[in-house]
Amino acid sequence: MSATGIGASVRRKEDLRFITGRGQYTDDVNRPGQGYAFFVRSPHAHANIRKIDSNAAAKMPGVLAILTGDDIAADKVGGLICGWMIHSKDGSPMKAGAHPALAQGKVRYVGDHVAVVIAESLAEARDAAEKVEVDYEVLPAVVDMNAATKKGAPVIHDVADNNTVYNWHLGDKAATDAAFAKAKHVTKLDIVNNRLVPNPMETRAAVGDYEPGTESFTLYTTSQNPHVARLVISAFIGVAPENKLRVIAPDVGGGFGSKIFIYAEEVVCVWAAKKVGRPVKWTADRTEAFLCDAHGRDHLTHAELAIDESGRITGLRVHTLANLGAYLSTFSSSVPTYLYAPLLSGQYDIPAIYAEVDGIYTNTAPVDAYRGAGRPEATYVVERLVEVAARETHVDPAKFRQKNFITKFPHQTPVIMAYDAGNYDASLQKAMEMADYKNIGKRKAESERHGKLRGIGISAYIEACGIAPSAAVGSLGAGVGLWESAEVRVNPIGTVEILTGSHSHGQGHETTFAQLVSDRLGIPLDAVSIVHGDTDKVQMGMGTYGSRSGAVGMSAIVKALEKIEAKAKKVAGFCMEASEKDIEFKDGKFTVRGTDKSMDFGAVALQAYIAHKFNGQELEPGLKESAFWDPTNFTFPAGVHICEVEIDPETGITHIERWSAVDDFGNVINPMIVEGQVHGGIAQGIGQAMCENAVYDAKGQLVTASFMDYCMPRADDLPSYQVGMTQTPCPSNPLGIKGCGEAGAIAAPPALINAITDALGTENVPMPATPQAVWRLAQKSITRKAAQ
């Protein structure tokens, strides 16, 4: 292993500019003559718009334009789309209501975009926006999923009866019912997967620009996938054809999924740039981020697990209500269906599974993918059920899991997925050792002596990452293929630019991707630059989400590098007067086999461009190759996290004493970055389990619309993590990579909740397990113990 190659914990190349304030984010982009957009948003969760009067507002100082849904309609700007078709049990397509970029006649959640004011300054735009008079006919709102599907509930979209987008299912109902009929024991659990607000550090922003000379648009935006944004804005929304629309996603300060989607504000900025004749800039403030970024999770689930007399799981039955909010966001329909139910087998050999999922409209912000997207929800269901089943059948939760682990690979689950490789028991054993699982009884007794309650919780998670392959996702309803592209441009002096369709918004691609190239070409890390986030530079790409950039994006780079090597060997052959078959490439040197003749990579690159040593008809000059990679399967990272807590029953405060994480990500490029991803993921998982909760009141007002009430985890809420690894390389990509971006967020919530319920001796505690909720249960637990 070289000091900068695959497997080395190289320091992140991008961090110098980030931590010295030299990053260039969308809000740092300023175009000459730009106007500033401020959106008039609905204060009501559900209302008809009778009239918008912007006459007074239009006369305010600095106002350039005030645009409404009528202007959108007049210009035939298409609505926002949901790009994944889901069919209900009865075969009918999902009921997708229209989602105009500016409201047309009706608003459906607090924050819904009603009009935009564009002015010379942001303050002037805001002042004028206050003068836009919107005459609302307020309608009853519904935020609760059970209420939304009842007869007589407010109708959010006319196309969706009972506010139901779909009644979807997966698995074999008859086989599952049969398993339950024969079961020795059935564990039942009602599970709430709480609604989260993504809260990346950088809020969304957009700058739309129009060049009348070439009739071309540029959109600078905070996107995890600029090419998909261009495709949607061009093909569906119709602002401009693709060749006249450039989308640039410069440095992006976190996304967690919320920046995958194509939102109204970005569309409005690019459309308005031409209409107003000025570049148009918008940056969300934190309140707008709370109200309008697509939220995450929000499931209500009833789940049952069938167990036979030997303690083996024989069946799993799940019914989930998934809140999709007021409109279908870009990938929202897929999250509680194909990104969720296919993971319900967990790490276990479960012969029969049947899942039903009802997608529900409510008068709340749209809900879409958030770190893990469907997989945390599935893991939470499985790992809570398994834990409770073990306790109910008086089996140690670790042993219960071991008994039911899948041990032979490949393994076909009853819910689509074919797991390719893994060693689940190895991760469990290692995690138990790190957690000193065997001595937990002593530590519990010690805590009890001090009036505290101690508990331990296991989470054995699996996820499907490297979201792909195209044919597979296409058959499940995806509107796009999920491959990745790469282009390798070798410069004449042997430096290299890698153009990738992946996008980094914190993951460190500029480092890890360069490590791969440095390793393969034998050139220094600094000789490699990673180019991403600009549709004029990178031809096409699918972006970064679902832990796909390593497994899919880097595989595309490997494929392109192989082509580079093949071409370079030809060049070297001409230069050293040898057959290309006799050229060996190792450690950055091309050598004629069996001789001492060699050329280094830079010399070959130079000769490729000088092209004196060969005839242009025999070999094309230059050294540049591209490749697309479409894998044959998802990847299946898995692992075991064990959490140990101590609860102060007097206050309900839960202190995380110990966190032992063992993950199998297959091969690892940069262990330090991987560990960082695990830390961040666990932090978000702990956030969900203990702190975060998006709460709407009955009228549809977001009660937790600021950090005063929305509890983000802070450093002192989090423990120091012990992170370990096991490795089974992924067989379906050339690097053996599985993906690590979401694992922590998937693994953490059930580990923590299992630990808290263990400490309290209760079956369930709803997330987030706040001090108040834990205190109430602790009082009951103490009363119960006293009664015994």
Binding site: R126, T704, Y710, T770, P771, Q772, W775
Partner: protein, 267 residues
């Protein structure tokens, strides 16, 4: 934020002069509440009179048996002052628990006390330590100063110049933080001076900071944790929100009071 006029006063007297000429003006102390509120357009004073340059409003000194702290003294200065740590360590302790380092480096004692946020920390210290709030016009006992939610005895244009704290024999502050905002859900300040025991609760009362008489009576008999056995706060009249309902707050008052007494006695 709406546009506003800004002026800077070099002394307390000049600040009072400036505000008397402008009905629509507000004093700007540390700005840790006022500025965010203005940014959100929830407050729109026509003018701000910045007190940060008024040196006469800053400083910490002993006057007789009282610790006197200038209104523009920052939380950081109180938290780290050797004099405060020696004379009323509980007050330094409290100041170190306010907000985060950024807030403590800007926020001031006078600003906090004048704002009387029902979840702020200083009002409980003022009340429990029987402080006197000194303004440009008069001296107001803490018991008469805090009159309701964000309400004080201050009149239009009246400026807090300093706060005088009688040095207690024993005192301590315990706070249960709101998990999101880290403001006090319940903060309890206990102080013993001679035979007099005072207890003040912040964060919990629906009318702001208050003194629970049953706790004071129990502790006056004997300043010991055991005195509080069986003494509890009533949920009635306490705040309820998504983080803590009134019953939980009532329970926490008991817990924080016992812990504060234990802490005060440990010193």
């Amino acid at each position: 934020m709406y546009a506003f006029n800004y002026s800077r006063a070099e002394t307390g007297r000049k600040a009072v002069n400036l505000i008397s000429k402008n009905e629509d003006a507000k004093f700007l102390a540390g700005g840790q509440t006022l500025l965010p509120t203005m940014k959100q357009r929830l407050a729109s004073p026509g003018a701000l009179i910045d007190l940060s340059g008024a040196a006469d409003l800053k400083g910490i000194e002993m006057k007789g048996r009282n610790l006197v702290i200038g209104a523009m003294t920052r939380h950081f200065d109180v938290a780290t002052s050797e004099l405060v740590k020696e004379k009323i360590p509980a007050l330094a302790d409290l100041a170190g628990m306010i907000g985060d380092p950024a807030v403590r480096n800007r926020g001031t004692m006078g600003g906090s006390v004048a704002n009387n946020d029902p979840a702020a920390d200083y009002p409980s210290a003022c009340l429990a330590l029987n402080a006197t709030i000194i303004t440009n016009k008069r001296k107001i006992p803490a018991d008469e100063f805090f009159t309701g939610l964000f309400e004080t005895a201050l009149e239009e244009g009246e400026l807090i110049t300093k706060i005088s704290f009688p040095v207690p024999n024993k005192a301590a502050y315990e706070k249960f933080r709101n998990p999101a905002s880290r403001y006090a859900i319940v903060g309890v300040f206990v102080a013993k001076k001679g035979k007099d025991v005072r207890v003040a609760v912040t964060g919990a009362g629906s009318n702001g900071v208050f003194r629970p008489s049953n706790f004071e009576a129990a502790l006056t008999a004997k300043f010991h944790v055991k005195s509080l056995e069986g003494v509890s706060a009533k949920a009635e009249g306490l705040n309820s929100d998504i983080h803590a309902d009134a019953a939980y707050r009532a329970h926490l008052i008991g817990v924080m009071a016992r812990r504060a007494v234990a802490k005060a006695n440990a010193k």
